[in-house]
Structure formats: C-alpha cells, structure tokens
C-alpha cells in the first residue's frame, strides 16, 4: 500500500517539476552529488540544504537515501537513485528522473546512512510533504514531524494548518504545532496554550516533549508544565494497569495454545506426552517451509502463508502423532508413567531429526503484514500479532469444545476415555478412536506451532521452552477438563504479568511456580477437579 502511494506521489511530483528552470536543476544536482562525497557526520547539513530548496524533486532523493538506495558512481562521483536487479543496479537520474541504465554493483559506492541521517531525512521529508496533495502522505508527514519535533518546522506546520481541510490531519497538525511550539522561542502565553492542548491529548509523546521542555522553560511556564505532566502521568498509570491485563491475556493465550493439545493427549487420554513440545516445533517448521516456498515461488501469496500453513501443520503433526500412537503409545495404555519415558525418547529423536534436516540455527518466519505493527486503543498499545493470537487461541478452544461435545467423533472419544471396555463392547472401535484422539491432540499442537512461530524462535529447541509451562497449565486447571485449561492458562498469564513489574521477570516466574505448588495442596486435583464419590479400588 505504502509503495503504491509513494510511486503515485513521485509521479505527481515529477509532473509538477517539468516547468522549473534548468539553472535550479544544476544547483540541485550539485547538492545531490555532494551527498556522495560527504562523510557521515556531514550528511545532516547536506540534507538540511536540500530540504531548504523546497524543491519537490528532493523528496525521492531523500527517500532513497533513507532506504539506502542512493549510490555514487565511483568513476565521476555522480549520485543515482538505484534499484536492485540481480547483481546489477538500475540507475535513475535524481534530477531528471530518467533512467540511466544499469551498472555493476562494484562500480558504485553506497551513500552511507546511519540513524542520525535517517532521523534528518525523516524530519526533512516531514516538512517537505506537509503540503502534499495526497492526504495519506500528509498524515505520514505530520506523524514524522511529531516523532522528531524541530523548532524550525513550526512555520511549515502553521502554513500547512492554514491550508488543511481534512479533520484528522488537522487535529494531528494542531498537536504537532503545540509540540514544536513548546520548544520554539514563541512567547510564554502561546506556550501555555500549547501545554494545555498537549495535556488534553496526553500520551507518551506529550510526556516526552513536556519533560524535555521542562528544563529550559521559564518560571511562569514551569508550573503549567508540571501540572500537565502530573495529570498525564496519572492517566498513564491507569492505562498501565489495563495494559498489564492485556499482556496477561496475551501471555495466557500463548500458554493456552501451547497447552491445549496437551489437554487432549495428557488431560483426556492420560498420556504423559513429553514430545508435545516437539509437535509445536514441527508446526512452526511447517510454517517456515510454507513461507520458504511462497517466498521463492508465489511472493504475492505471502500474506496468506499462515492460512496455508495452518491446515498443513495440522496434517503434518497429526500424522506424526498418529504414527507415534500406532507405533509406540498403543502398547503402553494403562501404564501412564511409561509413556513419559517413551515420549521423552521420541522427543529427543524428533529434535535431533529437525536439527539434522534444518540445521541447528533459528529459521526465519516472517510476520504477514496483517500481523505486523500495533495500534493504539486509548492508552493501550495493542500489537496485531498478539491480538490475532488471542483470537486464534480462543477459536481453537471453541472448535475443540464443539468437536468434543457436539460431534459423534467427540462422543466416541469421551466414551472411550471414560470407560474403554464398555465403549468397546458397544461397538466403538477403541484403537481407532485412541489413534484419532492422539492425532487430534498432536495436530492442535502443530497449529499452535504456527501461531507461536510468529513470536518466538523457530529452532529445534522451540518445544522445550513450552513443555513445562504446558504441563503446569493443564495440571493447574485440572486434568481432563478443557475449561480448566482455559481458565488456568489465562489466570497464570495474568498473574505472571501482574507480578512481573514488582518482582521482575525471574522472581515473578518463581512466585507463580510456588503458588501452583501451594494451590495443588489446597486442591490436589486442580482448579476444575471432577468431584464425586469416585470410589477407590
């Protein structure tokens, strides 16, 4: 999306550039070429000089600079906009905008950028595109002005404000004006007004700008700023509690995903499945493979990679689970502790297989665009990937619940786990049901792996990190009870996140473990234990 806007914008600007005189062009070319010779520390000044020309042709040059696509020809010091094409670079003349052919990489040298250059580019671009005819470009411009406020830009902002019609952009411009005004040399009265505006809008950026202004503010302004700071901090503190709940929910959803497959294989079937984590890992590697294929063959489908990976992961890990059940576990029913040993052995084999096939290092699994970034909800920062993972975890849970409670397959599964002999004598093919149940649990673990690949390492060790937590969740919630797993996961998640700010990440985790141990003393069969006369033999 952004790319499209950008190219439209460039085209528009190039059209607008046609009538400008040739002499200006020469000056511009010199300025651009100067970038190629400048040292890193001098680039900032050149950018400022370029921005001062106000020439719209500067925009693509600066953008290319910021993205590291500006190269100087070694032979004559000419600077070009470039685009990768194989081992060559396609050159575009920065002033005329015309193609300048291709050149091998070795004949060009990159115009170096670092963070401060990128910052300067952002500031310059911000004030240059404030008057752009494209609404989204203006919005982006205001945002970058807000991110790196600069007193020099105040004039440009006020000009833009005068011309702006769009409500949202206007509101942001107002805030940008207030932000820049505070650090400018305008009279105190105007500043007071700006402080008031910032106080109303609140937010982290306001906090940042106000506290930096506090040092240089004069005596009459100081109390205003301090009051504003106090009020913003207060609301921030309130939001922080909400943020904690969100983090807790998010951690809980990760725990739920990791544990839900185990709730089937361990909770329902009673198999102490130490290879559960490896099923999660296999799911994550499936995602990696899917993305790898898409990246090389169908790059356009990349955003669909997770949707494609989900059923595949289910099938892959379900099949592995099926093979495990038929090959090993079915001989061990009624000996739960021995399943622990066998599955531990299997987990070692699976880990080492993955290590041999894919190598021991992390594999890159990208976030599709709809899972990248964050949005603000009031004072909450909500990242898309976490949000989708919560949604996904709940969907998996609901689906599983439906499968178990409402379908004939689920009925058979429950029948077999409750009374194998009775079920068998009623004509249910118990071995088949066992195998399918185990495959289902494994398949769900694989789907969890697809989601977890979005936030964690994809490495052979992935599963190890989740296995203990998963067992804790299932046991804490109550073995054999899906709702217990749900409540267990979310309460452990939230508890952990509320302890973390006070006790730190490590102590917080220790405390949670100790609380689980104590809780089991109170309720030896977990949160949602099945009560009843359950006569012991």
């Amino acid at each position: 999306m952004y790319r499209i806007i950008q190219s439209v914008l460039v085209a528009l600007l190039l059209l607008a550039a046609v009538p400008t005189g040739l002499r200006a062009e020469d000056g511009l070319r010199d300025l651009v070429n100067a970038l190629g010779e400048a040292k890193l520390s001098e680039v900032d000044e050149h950018i400022a000089a370029l921005a001062k020309t106000g020439d719209p042709k500067v925009v693509p040059v600066l953008e290319a600079l910021g993205e590291g696509n500006l190269y100087a020809r070694k032979a004559d010091g000419q600077v070009f906009l470039t685009k990768e094409s194989g081992s060559n670079l396609t050159l575009t003349d920065p002033v005329s905008g015309e193609s300048a052919g291709e050149a091998p990489k070795a004949s060009l040298s990159k115009v170096k950028v670092n963070n401060s250059v990128r910052r300067a580019v952002r500031t310059a671009l911000g004030s240059l595109t404030l008057l752009s005819p494209d609404r989204n470009a203006r919005l982006k411009a205001v945002q970058s002005v807000l991110q790196s406020p600069n007193a020099d830009a105040l004039g440009a902002i006020e000009n833009a404000l005068a011309a702006e019609k769009d409500g949202e952009v206007r509101a942001m411009l107002e805030q940008a004006r207030a932000t820049t005004l505070i650090i400018s040399d305008r009279p105190t009265e105007e500043k007071k007004e700006a402080v008031r505006l910032l106080k109303e809008n609140g937010g982290r950026e306001a906090l940042s700008i106000l506290s930096s202004a506090l040092g240089s503010a004069d005596e009459t302004l100081k109390p205003d700023i301090e009051a504003a700071l106090a009020s913003i901090e207060q609301t921030q503190a309130l939001w922080a509690a909400g943020q904690n709940v969100w983090y807790g929910l998010s951690l809980g959803s990760v725990l739920l995903l990791a544990a839900i497959g185990l709730a089937i294989t361990f909770g329902v079937m009673g198999i102490i499945n130490m290879a559960h984590g490896e099923m999660v890992m296999l799911g994550a590697y499936t995602t990696f493979l899917v993305q790898e294929v898409l990246r090389t063959s169908f790059p356009a489908l990349f955003d669909w990679s997770l949707a494609i990976a989900l059923p595949l992961a289910f099938i892959v890990t379900g099949t592995v689970g099926l093979a495990m059940e038929r090959g090993v576990i079915r001989f061990l029913y009624g000996r739960p502790l021995e399943t622990l040993l066998a599955t531990w052995g299997i987990s070692l084999i699976l880990q080492q297989s993955v290590r041999s096939i894919f190598g021991p290092t992390n594999r890159e699994v990208g976030n599709p665009s709809w899972m990248s970034g964050a949005f603000e909800l009031g004072g909450l920062t909500i990242t898309w990937n976490r949000l989708w993972i919560i949604v996904f975890a709940l969907a998996v849970f609901a689906g599983l619940l439906f499968l178990l409670k409402k379908t004939p397959m689920g009925l058979q599964m429950r029948a077999v786990t409750q009374n194998r002999r009775m079920a068998s004598s009623m004509g249910i093919r118990t071995p088949w049901v066992d195998a399918l149940t185990f495959a289902l649990g494994s398949g769900i673990a694989g789907m969890a792996g697809v989601a977890l690949s979005q936030i964690d390492n994809v490495s052979p060790n992935l599963g190890q990190g989740y296995i203990i937590d998963s067992f804790m969740v299932v046991v804490f919630g109550g073995v054999g009870n899906l709702w217990g797993t749900l409540v267990g996961a979310f309460s452990l998640g939230i508890l952990n996140k509320f302890l973390e700010p006070y006790a730190g990440a490590v102590l917080g985790k220790i405390l949670v473990l100790v609380l689980i141990i104590l809780f089991i003393q109170k309720r030896p069969r977990g949160l949602f234990a099945l009560k009843g006369r359950a006569v012991e033999a």
Binding site: N114, L207, G373, T383
Partner: protein, 430 residues
Amino acid sequence: MTIRARVTGAFLAAVLSTTAFNGAFAAEDTIKVGILHSLSGTMAISETTLKDAMLMLIEEQNKKGGLLGKKLEAVVVDPASDWPLFAEKARELISVDKVSAVFGCWTSVSRKSVLPVFEELNSILFYPVQYEGEESQRNVFYTGAAPNQQAIPAVDYLMENEEVERWVLAGTDYVYPRTTNKILEAYLIAKGVKPEDIMINYTPFGHSDWQTIVSDIKKFGSAGKKTAVVSTINGDANVPFYKELANQGIKAEDIPVVAFSVGEEELAGLDTGPLVGHLAAWNYFQSVDNPTNAEFIETWKAYTKNDKRVTNDPMEAHYIGFNMWLKAVEKAGTTDTDAVLDAMIGISVPNLSGGYSTMMPNHHITKPVLIGEIQSDGQFETVWETPGLVVGDEWSDYLPDSKDLISDWRAPMSCGNFNVATGKCGGKGS
C-alpha cells in the same frame, strides 16, 4: 547374578575398546585438534557453526600441506550443552585422544567447567567468544572480545554520535551481562551520566514474553532525553525481543538498541526489515570489504554447500586463533604445550577485518572494534570503527577490585592475576 555380571563386563569392555580404538589412531602420524562445541541441547544453535568452521579451517590447512609435515586430524565430540559433560569430554580429548590443542566452548560456564582440566593436564584451549573478562589462565587463549573491545566503544559511539543521555542496560541474568553492565554502569557514571538515567533489567534464559519489558523501555525512553538500549540479551531470547520491539514500533531512529550477542547468525532467523538501524558492536562483520574476508566467505559457502550461510565474529575468532596456533607450532617446531605456550605470545596473523591481530602477553588479542547497523538484508553495515587496534583488557579498570590486577604470561612474571598494588601474584601455585 550371572546376567548382571555379564552386562557390567560387556560394558567395561566397551569402554576400554573405544579407548583402545581411539588410541590406535594416535599411532598414525597426524596432529590432532580437539573440537569441543555443543552439537545438541540449547547451545547447539550457536556452537554447531563453530564446529563446521573449525572442520573447514583444518581441511583447508591440510590442502596446504598440514603442519610440520603432518596432516591435521579433527576430533569432534558433543558435550551436549551440559557443563559437567564439557569437563568430561575435555579430559577425554586430552588424555585419551591426545589432542595438541582444543578449540571450543561458548558459554562462560562451559569455559569455567573445563579450565581446571586444561590446567591439570596442561593442554591448550582457544576460546572464541566475547566474554566478561576477569580471567586470564595460562592454558587458555581468549580470541573473543573482552568488555573493552566491544561494550565500551559501543557506548562511546552512542554517546558521541547519537547523543544518548539515558541508558537501558538489558541483559540475560548470567555472569557476562552482569559483569558487562557493572563495568558499563561504572563507566557511564564516570562519564557524568546520572544514576537515575540508567535502568538495569535482567531476564531469565530463553525469555520469550517481552511485552512488559519493551513497554518499560518505551516508558523509560519518554522522559525527554535521547535513550538507547545496551543489550546483553543472550542468543535465544533475542528473536522474540526484536520481534516485540518491531511490533511495538520502537524504531532505531528513536531508541536504538546496541547488542553484543547478536550477529549475522542470529539475524538469519529474523525478518530484519523493521530492525534497520539497530546496532551491534563486534570485531568483525561479514560485510567488511577486503580480499581476505571475501576469500574466507567464499570458502565457507563452498564448504557448507550453502550460498546463504553467513559468517560471524566467533568464526573469525577461531580463524585468528587457529592461524596463530599454526604459526606458533611452526615457530616452536613442536606441538608440545609448554613450547607452544611460549611461542604464542607476540604471534601476529591477519584478521578478517583487514588488519593484523597479535597475541598479547595476557593471552588476549588485539582487535579493531566495529559498530554496525542492521540492514534489511540481514547484514550489518559498519558505521564506525576504532581508529586503531584495541588490546583486550582482561581485568577491567572499571571494577574496584580488578583495577589493580594485570596479567603477563611471559617469564619471569608468568602470572594471570598480578596485583600491582601489593606486588603479589594472586592465585599462583594453585
């Protein structure tokens, strides 16, 4: 009973026969080199590459005719990320396989675990990873960076070029981050940074839920002063950390993160698009442009038959260490430990960043320090470089108890922890 006795007997026989089996090899005329890197367990992720790098170096050397007219032979074992097993395997390499030198270890704890073994059996270890310093041992050569070859230049860079005034020191809770952060804290305070402008945070190994900490960093960074994060977060936890940074929208232009444990290998598991501009400090980057490095990268890609394999700093450290050892053995004319230990000091070999590295009397080497910014292709671009070479400083000048210590393994001092204030050698005779 009889069966039991038979089983035990068979087992003893098995152990002895492997011993004999290994012994048989020693009869052939090769020089053995031990490779002690985890190939399984949590550290396999980092160490396996180093094993491959060593095998490649040894193969290349054999193509050039070996050493002292003999072929080199690599002995690979798997200490499985299990620290006591490191000690056992080190002992096995030295006393059973009779290797002439060992290249190995990654974590500090694995090094600490094998130290007594190398000391007792008098052999040589090359340790290729950046570490916390505070150690200098007669039988160990430290080819990775000491804190002053990585952390301090990085902080200097941020202070001067990015005008950072507020610092988050985030690390995994173990000795390397702890020590490095102690040193940095002392250094920053000496440079006039106020204690309230330093936030220190530790997380457990493999920490994967970074939401709270990243938002704390954001909060800490909104106090109106330029803020930077100095990360000593350990390998595994980095991927979720950077993913969270990217998603919460912390850009390098606003709050740059400089890392000491993130190299090309770690970035290979990440989409670096949103991370452009975050920094790392190393003594080598794959992107360094010079003929030696180009040749090295080419050989590596050919050896691994993988065009996408990356190189990294610890590999370079092994490259330097291995070449130094070759030169020292040639100079000494023997692989005898004492002779090689003497010959090592002062040996100078080309490094991959376009200069020469020299083994100093403190068993640390000279290195350039490079600061690189992450690029969207998973590589680093050098944005700053120390003007000259930096000598590894094993005993930090910024820790009160270690500032008086020096180390010099040349005769007559031959001491790893000489106290200049008391004029005594600390742990000598142990």
